[in-house]
């Protein structure tokens, strides 16, 4: 069966003043896919994601989310569940109050409660339900953001470094949830620095460097492309982002100290 396009990004450019963070970037994510967005720090991953979820205005480019242009922001955002890289929530609220706010904006009703109960139990957040978010650990804040993103059963999950701070159990549960979400026909855009996770989890990856896609495809396809068939995704990543060259010299210099 032909997979539908869940996300189409065409010629996306993002500028911060005179600095170009994303430079004519294009990629497509299909339904049922987990698309890994990889790249070194400052490559433009988070900027791309912020435009996708409607936080940032691009300089130019076209983005469609399930056929809805991102300019139609309210309609586009209803398709998305988003976990930001820097989890800054309304810290003075408790998770209960925060979920109430998010559920109100998303026009959910009381029928959401059994789903919320399942998530809070799975992520072991129940005991912190009436504790202000400010008093939670980084991992628990991350769990609040993840549950808020999953609450409305979105078609597209946009996860910017979602595993940061999570304990092994929650990390495993989230990865299973992501896989299940893709299996049932949803789409996932997943940004991470952990190459092993991307290698195991993602259907396809797009490697960004200096605002441009420098490599895209399945891990197997990329291996063939860079002719290091035995190499891991980390080796491929270092090669296509041109970070491999001279790296051994740097390591040697550090070891000599």
């Amino acid at each position: 069966m032909e997979q539908q396009a869940a996300v189409i990004v065409e010629n996306l450019t993002v500028n911060y003043g005179t600095f170009t963070a994303v430079d004519k970037l294009s990629f497509t994510v299909k339904t049922g896919e987990i698309y890994g967005l990889l790249g070194p720090n400052g490559a433009g991953k988070t900027s791309t994601i912020k435009v996708l979820v409607g936080i940032l205005e691009p300089k130019q480019g076209k983005i469609d989310i399930y056929g809805t242009p991102v300019q139609n922001e309210v309609a586009a955002k209803t398709h998305i569940g988003y976990v930001p890289e820097e989890v800054v929530l309304l810290d003075s609220l408790t998770p209960r109050e925060f979920f109430e706010f998010v559920a109100s904006i998303r026009r959910l009703n009381n029928a959401i409660n059994p789903r919320l109960e399942r998530f809070t139990t799975a992520f072991e957040l129940k005991q912190y339900f009436d504790t202000p978010i400010a008093a939670l650990s980084m991992g628990n804040k991350q769990k609040v953001a993840i549950i808020a993103a999953l609450l409305h059963d979105p078609q597209l999950l946009v996860l910017d470094e979602p595993l940061v701070g999570l304990d092994a159990r929650s990390s495993k549960i989230l990865k299973e949830l992501i896989t299940y979400h893709a299996k049932k026909g949803g789409a996932v855009i997943f940004s991470t620095h952990i190459m092993e996770v991307a290698e195991k989890l993602c259907t396809r990856v797009g490697i960004i460097n200096k605002g441009k896609i420098v490599g895209e495809g399945t891990v197997e396809g990329l291996r063939k492309l860079v002719k290091t068939a035995a190499g891991s995704l980390e080796d491929i990543f270092l090669k296509v982002t041109e970070q491999e060259e001279g790296m051994q010299d740097v390591i040697n210099a550090l070891e000599e100290e």
Partner: protein, 547 residues
């Protein structure tokens, strides 16, 4: 480590605490995309804001001090004896310094006790003693100008009023003790606020009540500061009357702070027949309070060091019975969220309480003039309505700035601009309406007709809604463009004022029209007032519906 090195490090920590106190939640995670120059500007703004707050507090102290003491030199206080006035003046001054320092320091101190920046110092190769010194220097820097300023002001004002050297020494001890008490209370309240209120969750109504009570305790003195400074002379006279009444009945007053220091300064300044018992009581209690201040100082240093070691314990978690939530329609959800956030932030909560407090005050002051017939009554009602509108219109941009607290998350939600605008406008209108209700109740209590208040007040409500919508449209457009807490009066005062001015103009236009109509065609006043306000209301609703 040398003092200079510690002081330099303390300066860096202090800058960060200023920044955190003004840009709470780091501007909703939107700072990284603002560019280096813009963020550096914000850091400078935060420090300047804190400096302004310190200088303003010192100016308030100076105004109060000189207003109280200078007339003494010229014998301007009629009635009460000079000695009693002098004792009352010193006592009132000490009380005012204490409350002003607490009010000024509470917001920054709350950031100080909750600051994670202190954790950065821990892993560095600094001894515990050095870290304690840095933390303490940083704490002192929050208050430096008002502390030194108050001492200088009291001594200068005291000597201008004709004080003696011994009296000056007593006054110095009094102000020193007062400042230590103020620091101890500030750090105590800030710790309580952080651990039990700001960081204390809980679903119970009791917790909600506790939060409201704490906010009220903070807001009332803040609001009272203006009136204290405005009515300094009258306050001292009231102090003097109370002093005379109590002093004649018993000598208990001599045991109470700050009166003991006030009387000691008075005894040392004027030759007077004082019984040895009176002198013993005043001197004994002054020494007692000085010892208490010594222990308060040690407690303050210990508390500040505990904070430096990261030892603030927040409230104990409650047992969670269920995870049930009750979503509302979007605009109601926003209102509920705004009220919850504001109830945990004194700086926001105080703005909610301003309209009703202003109404009570103006109602009591001008209530006697309420009348339907006279020009005085007409201008009294309109004057109060203008006053309430002014303080109500501070709310909309502030409410919108709440959206900036977690903007990197909330802006990813499917939220329409007009939903945000309508929710904040409704909340602002409710605050105005509740103030109007209070005004009607005051009029009824004073046995005056409430018809004019109700008619004009409801007409003005249309204009207040229109003005709120205008402010919200301007700030929402800026917010959507910049993704930043554009309307936060604490963060960017200039932008706040620019947003406020069009709103105020809109709220005043119908009032000006009503005044002109009253002048030239009295019978048409209400109709002209209604027509202009209604026109504004309809126009702004049309503009908002297109957002």
């Amino acid at each position: 480590m040398r003092f200079f090195e510690l002081w330099t490090l303390a300066q860096k920590v202090y800058r960060e605490i200023c920044f955190q106190s003004v840009f709470s939640f780091r501007s909703g995670g939107m700072l990284p995309q603002r560019g280096r120059g813009s963020v550096e500007q914000l850091v400078r703004n935060a420090e300047v804001n804190t400096l302004i707050s310190k200088v303003l507090t010192t100016i308030f102290v100076a105004v109060f001090g000189f207003t109280v003491f200078v007339p003494l030199r010229f014998g301007s206080y009629g009635g009460a004896s000079e000695k009693v006035i002098f004792a009352s003046g010193v006592s009132a001054f000490l009380a005012i310094v204490m409350s002003l320092i607490i009010i000024m320091g509470l917001q920054v101190s709350t950031s100080f006790v909750s600051s994670k920046v202190l954790e950065v110092l821990g892993p560095l190769p600094l001894s515990k003693r050095d870290i304690s010194s840095i933390v303490f220097m940083c704490f002192v820097r929050i208050f430096d100008i008002p502390l030194i300023g108050s001492m200088v002001i009291l001594l200068v004002a005291y000597f201008i009023a004709g004080g003696t050297l011994i009296g000056g020494l007593v006054s110095f001890v009094g102000i020193f003790v007062t400042e230590i008490f103020a620091l101890a209370l500030t750090i105590g309240l800030a710790r309580f606020f952080y651990s039990r209120v700001a960081n204390g969750g809980g679903r119970s109504r009791w917790k909600g009540f506790l939060r409201t009570l704490f906010i009220l305790v903070w807001v009332l003195p803040s609001f009272g500061t203006y009136f204290v400074v405005s009515f300094a002379t009258q306050i001292v006279q009231s102090f003097a009357s109370a002093t005379q009444v109590f002093a004649s009945a018993s000598q208990l007053l001599l045991l109470i702070y700050p009166f003991c220091f006030g009387f000691m300064a008075s005894f040392a300044s004027f030759s007077q027949n004082v019984s040895s018992l009176t002198l013993f009581l005043a001197a004994g209690s002054s020494i007692g309070y000085s010892f208490l201040a010594y222990y308060a100082f040690r407690w303050t240093v210990r508390s500040v060091r505990t904070i430096g070691a990261g030892g603030i314990i927040t409230s104990v978690r409650e047992i969670v019975k269920d995870t049930v939530i009750s979503p509302q329609i979007p605009w109601l959800g926003i209102i509920r969220k705004d009220l919850r956030v504001a109830s945990r932030s004194p700086s926001y909560a105080s703005l909610f309480l301003l309209p009703p407090l202003e109404t009570i005050l103006l109602g009591i002051l001008l209530g006697g003039s309420f009348s339907t017939a006279s020009a005085t009554g007409f201008s009294a009602v309109l004057g109060i309505l203008v006053g309430i509108s002014l303080v109500t219109l501070i709310l909309p941009p502030t409410l919108l700035s709440l959206e900036g607290l977690a903007s990197s998350y909330t802006r990813s939600l499917p939220l329409r601009k007009r939903t945000v605008i309508s929710s904040k406008a409704v909340l602002s209108a409710l605050m105005y309406a509740s103030s109007l209700l209070i005004l009607v109740l005051i009029a009824l209590y004073l046995r005056k007709s409430a018809n004019t208040i109700l008619t004009f007040g409801l007409i003005q409500l249309l204009s207040v809604i229109a003005a709120s919508v205008l402010e919200l449209v301007i700030s929402a457009r800026k917010f959507w463009r910049e993704g930043f807490a554009v309307g936060n009066m604490y963060a960017r005062l200039s932008t706040f004022v620019v947003i406020l001015i069009p709103g105020l103009i809109l709220a005043y236009v119908p009032v000006v029209a009503a005044v002109l109509a009253f002048e030239f065609a009295t019978s048409m006043t209400a109709w002209v007032y209604l027509a202009v306000a209604l026109l504004e209301f309809v126009m702004m609703l049309l503009i908002a519906s297109r957002e």
